[in-house]
Symmetry: C2
DNA sequence: CACCGGTCGTTTGACATCGAACTATCGTCG
DNA sequence: CGACGATAGTTCGATGTCAAACGACCGGTG
């Protein structure tokens, strides 16, 4: 019964939750961003971090993982390549694909940086208890899945 | 005691929560964006909506409310003025300030649009029960406040 | 009245971001 | 083998975004 009949109070509740959700995300992200080296953007970090934890990927996969457009990734990856943190290699067996991987410098760079960022995030979330974090995971997951369906 | 000793499991929990939080926010926002007229951006909508619910404001206040830079607002507001949805007026008593207000067209535009967006958001959040929405508000608020403090 | 620090908005340069048009490549089907 | 549809990446144009430098204006102080 709760989710079928959509009274106005449900709508207000949803709006309120959405606003607070966005604020929380933006606040945390902006504070995490302060911890990044000044010349590294959030998306660039996300690319490095993804490659670090998942290994080499092609641009399309990277775009999907990060919920960005392929056109966007082209630019971000180009900028990272310019400063020598990653390298691009065409797949010999299918020239359409380009595999992105960390350069040695990129690997050691992100290996050093990641723990700092993780600690920062943990600090941000330290206002929540463990069970609150778990509950937040559960709720966010439900919302995220909802969107993935379609 | 729970928040002082930061074991690695706390860190993993926080990272997990952060990722899911961002995904949820991005997913919902991107789906809400689909509902907007194609020529209206999220920030432009946010500006109109804020003016609609709070009345005329100067750019600095608007920037603060929306957590954006003033330079950013200059552009967004200029674009909205170009299409005639808002108007800018210098304050006679202090020429540094510029008051932004909805034009008649802007007012009726947002008055028609807002209910649609609100319904869409409510629909996105309908995967959560009322008590889950309330809990999400509580948790997000704690995170947001944490960030506002400093 | 003239300077001066502080406040508001604009400009600038670099990057992000999207969608849509475009290029190159692949697989397949006739 | 050759045309065609699908797929990966790039390019383009418009907008957003920030930080930092800048210009205009205010209020006070000497």
């Amino acid at each position: 019964m709760p989710t079928h009949h959509q009274g106005p109070e449900h709508e207000i509740l949803a709006l309120d939750a959405y606003i607070k959700l966005m604020r929380a995300t933006e606040s945390v992200t902006s504070r995490v961003h302060e911890t990044l080296p000044t010349d590294l953007t959030v998306t660039q970090f996300a690319v490095l971090e993804t490659l670090f934890h998942l290994g080499p990927l092609c641009q399309g996969q990277l775009a999907t993982k990060l919920l960005k457009s392929t056109g966007n990734l082209t630019l971000v990856v180009a900028n990272l390549e310019k400063v020598g943190l990653i390298k691009r290699e065409r797949q010999p067996h299918d020239l359409r694909f380009i595999t992105i991987s960390l350069s040695p410098r990129g690997r050691s760079f992100i290996a050093k940086l990641f723990p700092k960022i993780a600690a920062r995030i943990a600090d941000e979330f330290s206002v929540l208890t463990s069970s609150e974090k778990i509950e937040l995971c559960r709720l966010a997951k439900k919302l995220g899945l909802r969107a993935t369906v379609k």
